[in-house]
Chain length 186, copies 2
């Protein structure tokens, strides 16, 4: 889905014409990096196609904070919002097509555009919900329950995301995930 199609479907069904901010389409190969650690990122991204991961350095090594799938926005969002160096690394798990949105242009549109503010509000609500659900899952669910819930929402992960990455997301060792998978699929 293109950014414009997404906006018509999710933000304003009557929208036509140009978006209140500029953007351009770009392809990234599997493994490519969108945002490196310590970079000051100036762009947000809308994912037309592909899967993306966001990693952070934790006390116990590199862990995956989040996966992003088709038709969603991603960015080192807290760094964009606070205009600070990125403490995450964002990279492509599969070949990706994205729309690149300059955050400055979006902020300019925020001053006067109802559509831009609706989009910003609704997408931030989604990111917030995702963050809270992950927080609550970590606090209340076992790794097996969290794996099942991930499978439930995104069954495609089995084909497209490595066991190593899934276990880095669940916060467990790859061997523990293999045991969980054996139990579930046997």
């Amino acid at each position: 889905m293109t950014l414009k199609e997404y906006i018509i479907k999710n933000i304003d069904s009557e929208f036509e014409g140009d978006l209140p901010f500029e953007f351009y389409s770009k392809k990234f190969k599997k493994g490519a990096i969108f945002t490196e650690f310590e970079k000051i990122e100036k762009n947000g991204f809308f994912l037309n196609k592909g899967i993306v991961k966001i990693e952070i350095q934790s006390k116990n090594g590199l862990i995956i904070l989040d996966f992003f799938f088709e038709n969603s926005f991603f960015a080192p969002y807290s760094s964009l919002l606070s205009n600070s160096h990125s403490d995450v690394c964002i990279s492509a798990i599969t070949d990706c097509v994205v729309d690149v949105i300059e955050y400055k242009a979006l902020q300019k549109a925020y001053k006067h555009s109802l559509l831009a503010n609706k989009l910003g509000r609704i997408e931030t609500e989604k990111l917030y919900l995702k963050k809270v659900q992950r927080e609550k899952a970590l606090l209340t669910k076992t790794a097996e329950e969290r794996y099942l819930s991930l499978l439930n929402t995104h069954p495609e992960i089995i084909q497209q995301i490595s066991i190593r990455d899934i276990s880095k997301y669940l916060g467990i060792q790859p061997e523990s995930l293999s045991r969980i998978r054996k139990k579930i699929f046997s």
Copy 2:
């Protein structure tokens, strides 16, 4: 600060007249509950005065997800957004004065009001940032570092929040917090 003063200061310095949604002021005594577990909450709150805590039932007992201080919005926000039963309990740590905003009225205003959408976007960005900072602190900092950072942002907590509540927020035993405090203040 009243809600209107807050909006002029933080959202639109030229704002005058009526807000695009209704609200009313209400007092809550220390210990009073805003939102109970399992309630379907219909309101959001702006905290004029006081301190509020949000608790959730974790695998290891009741823990505190967040404190809210003067001049901030709070709600069982993920339940409001997804129109579901609250899995958190929100209560007053001190006597509180709040502005109560009916979420339905706010949603109605979101349809056409630039100001309402700006407010919703900016406040959700703040909640998101707070959530991410807490997530990153839990992943990368020790309990002592997290306590120092809380003290730094809100030195008033020492007088106003019990050691029991602070330790429930830090995710450690009260005895561990006492040891940390002894070390810091000696």
